[in-house]
């Protein structure tokens, strides 16, 4: 900024330094974190302002955030356990079983032909439609929530794993065969391994579906869990408390999805883990 002024072209120097300031400002404004923080502040401010207009039907950030702090341990944490217990368990079952079924379908034509009509049909049907009958069969407790999570989460895993196995580069399978690898080794070390990024993407979608499933189940059965809290709070016009629960739900989902995305990326592109950069070939 304090560049000596060149007598011959004072204008040139002045415009160059203001150019510098401008480009710094532009870079600051266009930085994605600047934008994210700014938009967050704007959203919170607007919500705070409009939320206070009708406190009975709406809430505002300062209210539900203080409620979140107050309620977290006594109220939200136990309910979160009730939700994430069956969600985690169902999700684990759906992931393992989904990958197994997907691999079996890809490996065996008969299994594929026999199962695919059902899988496609059930996948296309909203699984939520089964909830009333599931409640009839399994009651309103842990079982029905586990069932809806599995039903919601398993199909994306099956279909993605199946697709991933079918997309395996046949030249890589040739490598396994040429080294006299048996069918099992080829299936696990080559076909399954190269389809893992697909499977994880399916698991990520499945997690989202499972979460939707369990929250709806909890709202419908009014038994327990975060869904039940949300439903209760809304009925008692306790909108601030309701939003404090939804915030927790959203944050948990966000963290878990990000973790899965990380695993997916590492499986698909393991070299990103290391700090080695591609290098040009040197010499012969």
């Amino acid at each position: 900024m304090s560049a000596p002024i060149d007598e011959t072209s004072p204008l040139g120097v002045a415009s160059a330094s203001s150019e510098g300031i401008r480009s710094t400002v532009v870079r600051f404004v266009k930085n994605k974190w600047t934008l994210r923080v700014l938009s967050l502040i704007a959203v919170i401010a607007l919500w705070e302002y409009f939320g206070r207009i009708d406190p009975l039907k709406a809430s505002y950030p300062t209210q539900f955030l203080s409620l979140l702090v107050e309620d977290f341990v006594p109220r939200i944490l136990p309910a979160a356990g009730e939700t994430f217990g069956p969600l985690g368990m169902g999700f684990a079952i759906a992931s393992v079983a989904g990958i197994l079924i997907g691999v079996l379908m890809a490996a065996n034509k008969s299994v594929d032909v026999a199962l695919s009509p059902y899988i496609v049909a059930i996948y296309a049907t909203p699984r939520i439609a089964l909830l009333p009958v599931l409640i009839l069969w399994l009651g309103v407790g842990f079982d029905v929530r586990l069932a809806i999570v599995i039903l919601s989460a398993i199909f994306p895993v099956i279909l993605n794993t199946y697709l991933g196995c079918k997309e395996v580069n046949s030249s890589l399978v040739d490598v396994g065969r040429s080294f006299n690898a048996n069918r099992w080794t080829i299936s696990t070390k080559i076909v399954l391994r190269s389809s893992m990024p697909y499977a994880i993407a399916g698991i990520r979608v499945g997690f989202g579906r499972g979460l939707i499933g369990i929250i709806i189940a909890e709202i419908l059965t009014a038994g327990a869990g975060l869904g039940n809290l949300i439903n209760d709070d809304a009925r008692y016009y306790d909108i601030g408390a309701m939003f404090s629960v939804i915030i927790v739900l959203g944050a948990a989902a966000l963290i878990f999805t990000a973790a899965l995305q990380y695993v997916e990326l590492r499986l698909a592109q393991p070299w990103r883990r290391r700090r080695t950069r591609p290098q040009k070939e040197v010499g012969a």
Partner: protein, 273 residues
């Protein structure tokens, strides 16, 4: 042509043959034309044999049949005196498209054949690293294939094949996907390694120059059906000199191969690079 072939069988029957193929035929369906018919070939111990032919003449199919990746419709394949059906560990293949596993590091790729054989991780990594050194990639052990150039990737492919110490090395246009300069570097490296290890190689190419430069013997194939048109011994002395293209033997051989491919194969798809 048949006399030449029978002659060859007789002259070579005394030596120890690593590969002996008799009457190899491949037909994909009852109504389709045969891809291969009555193909005879052999590779003696320490010999470098090229199959030269235009695209679609069945040379790769022949190689894949020897590798056990394709089942022949007729004929026998004997490797090291024993009838060979399907893949086995006494032969190893180097692929045109490199075919490295993208999720494995270079040394893990090179160790893959040993991994299949159940060699412990420590031992197979040590042995694979030796072969990585042989192909000049000691400083790239922990790189992933996507971080390597095409030439480097094919060196890993070669190290992977050599690491299981096969009796017979099968190479399917291994340098076809590389640029001209890298190709020459790798050809030179292959010649050195062959001399050092005494390898027996069956090499498929559509490049006349490559076949002449590398081989002890060249089988020229024609298409429809795929069969051996003629066999040439390469009389150029080893080690082949920098200016090997200037030698009269080369010019003569090149002329003969070119004429054969041009006339019998209809002059299409023949690479002269």
């Amino acid at each position: 042509m048949t006399e030449i072939l029978e002659d060859r069988v007789n002259t070579r029957s005394g030596e120890s043959l690593i590969l002996e193929v008799r009457g190899l035929g491949k037909i994909y369906g009852p109504s389709s034309a045969p891809v291969l018919q009555g193909l005879d070939l052999e590779v003696a111990n320490g010999e470098f044999v090229s199959i030269l032919g235009p695209s679609g003449c069945g040379k790769t199919t022949a190689l894949r049949a020897v590798a056990g990746l394709v089942e022949q419709s007729e004929g026998t394949i004997r490797v090291n005196g024993r009838e060979s059906r399907g893949p086995s560990t006494d032969k190893a293949m180097v692929f045109q498209g490199f075919n490295l596993f993208p999720w494995m590091t270079a040394v893990e790729n090179a160790a893959f054949g040993l991994e299949i054989q159940g060699v412990s991780k420590k031992e197979r990594t040590r042995r694979a690293a030796e072969y990585m050194a042989l192909v000049g990639l000691s400083d790239r052990l922990d790189h992933y294939p996507s971080q390597l150039s095409g030439g480097q990737q094919q060196r890993v492919g070669l190290a992977r094949a050599l690491a299981i110490e096969p009796k017979l090395l099968l190479m399917d246009e291994p340098f076809g996907a590389l640029d001209a300069l890298t190709r020459e570097q790798l050809q030179g490296m292959l010649i050195d390694i062959c001399a050092q290890k005494g390898l027996s190689v069956l090499f498929v190419t559509h490049s006349i120059d490559e076949a002449i430069y590398l081989s002890d013997r060249i089988l020229v194939m024609g298409a429809n059906p795929g069969r051996v048109l003629e066999t040439f011994d390469v009389t150029l002395e080893r080690p082949r000199l920098e200016n090997w293209r200037g030698e009269p033997d080369y010019v003569e051989l090149r002329e003969a191969a070119w004429r054969l491919l041009d006339v019998k194969a209809g002059g299409t798809n023949v690479g002269a690079d």
